[in-house]
Symmetry: C2
Subunit: 136 residues, 2 copies
Amino acid sequence: MSVRHTAVTPQAGGAQAAGPCGDDDCGIREVLDRIGDKWTVLVIVELSKGVRRFRELQRAIPGISQRMLTLTTRRLCRDGLVERTVYATIPPQVDYRLTAMGQSLATMVSDLADWSREHKDAIGEARRHWDAAHTE
Amino acid sequence: MSVRHTAVTPQAGGAQAAGPCGDDDCGIREVLDRIGDKWTVLVIVELSKGVRRFRELQRAIPGISQRMLTLTTRRLCRDGLVERTVYATIPPQVDYRLTAMGQSLATMVSDLADWSREHKDAIGEARRHWDAAHTE
DNA sequence: CGGGATCCGAACAGATACTG
DNA sequence: CAGTATCTGTTCGGATCCCG
């Protein structure tokens, strides 16, 4: 997600203005700015299964465009969560794999996924209740 | 976050088109579509400390607008993660508190924050390396 | 194959201004 | 106090074309 965080947008590579960060909140934003976007988690999950090439990732994640896959993997590389290996062959081949830090993040993501599956039904029901009560 | 997920945007309350969800990926999106946005996590963290009124939340989360706080709390209520209590007093008073499900999510979020604090420096250094290598 | 560069519509988030 | 409504800029993501 980079979750459009005006100051910390990864593209510009700007200095982290760090904003008001006196509380304990800032820690969470750091992660969510990385995994909160539309595709990053899916890439991490796929890479947690093993080394993948660019096209393999794209096929494994239905709906992702080349552009978003490029941007996503690049951010992950930049943050040291994914390692990129280029083979100067013809045709070219590029492998992506999680770093140690990336793997530790993958377990967190996996926990989140577990939680999600556990509470999926409850959330769905809560939504139906809410939607029913607010339909007029 | 709703992380702009075209099909699952909460506002429209549209039917969840559910897309291609045969793999194990869909579970994670469910959570991230809720906590991945810019403010939701901060609200959850603040509410994990106890019951809060609207203004208290707004003051506790510097930078959030009334609008975003309203939207965020409403989504959390809709998903059954937060409970809203309205007192018909003058001036009006509204309390927000985490539900049991919301609290279990808060612990997950707390774990994420811990991870973030642990690896913050490593990520920062990885970024500097990457930025240095790609500055030309 | 693995991208880079560009254009463009859509969703989001901030800033008011107004209400009960 | 606790919102709602509207207007507007920014950012994101998809599509397309091109390159090595």
